[in-house]
Point group: C2
Chain length 138, copies 2
DNA sequence: ATGAGTGCAAATAGTTTGCAAGCTG
DNA sequence: CAGCTTGCAAACTATTTGCACTCAT
């Protein structure tokens, strides 16, 4: 349980990235939410305005390049980041009304890789987000 | 072959939307590309600046609401629209280098619906885009 | 000490909105 | 001819960049 953040910090270290208070704060926010959040949301969730919004963008970008978080995209195009994919890659189902997020454990990554291989594509990645209206909001 | 556009026009009519030259041009552009394209790309593809960029945005938005096109999102957050999903829902694999797009016919829509039903979500939709580097670009 | 990281201001990209004028049904 | 559509200008949102300063290593 404690490990999500520590794991992330360890990975930062591995990649030669520096451990700053701002980065720790952002990681904490992501860990507490355990749902994908945008840079703005992550920034808003920080206690005491722990860092500038721009820094949130930059850190999340770094995190993604270091494979510490995974990138997703909302229906409206905003980018969202999610911590905790270390072992279990998964996706999300988000309510258009209240934003509530459920984790869904299906992924067509394997099939995708086969097809991509067939076309000769490499460095595969995919984005997949599901949206709907939750029981409370309908 | 001829039908993609005609079909779309028919559906416009059904929905009580008007058939204008601008809309026809945009549909033509989408049909010729048969790959997802952004509003800006669709606009750029129009011969003779057939309509304003804003109109392209508005039309595509209408088309999507009328279920004439499907909405997707790129890795960077730009929205893309794709014609021709009338019967065969599918997804795409896009090259990060040259933008080349391959159609992929897998979709976890069914599994998704089951899970969503389990959570009580309705009005499901999903976005899924795959990215990689094609043989030519690597 | 040295270069990665940060904050602030300003620039961009993509998309949306307000309003008067134009065209479709 | 009524109202959906369009064009143009301007507003907006999400994100990126330039630059001087600061702090982790």
């Amino acid at each position: 349980m404690t490990s999500l953040i520590d794991e992330a910090i360890a990975r930062l270290r591995e990649k030669g990235l520096r451990i700053t208070d701002q980065r720790k704060s952002i990681l904490r926010a992501l860990a507490e939410a355990e749902a994908p959040m945008s840079a703005e949301e992550a920034h808003a969730a920080l206690v005491n305005e722990a860092c500038d919004l721009v820094t949130a963008y930059r850190c999340l970008d770094q995190f993604e390049k270091a494979k510490i978080v995974e990138l997703g995209v909302r229906e409206n195009g905003t980018k969202v980041y999610c911590l905790g994919h270390g072992q279990g890659h998964h996706h999300h189902l988000t309510c258009r009304g209240c934003g509530k997020t459920e984790r869904i454990d299906i992924c067509m990554g394997k099939e995708l890789n086969e097809i991509a291989a067939h076309f000769g594509f490499v460095e595969l990645s995919h984005v997949m987000e599901a949206f709907g209206v939750c029981p409370k909001c309908k």
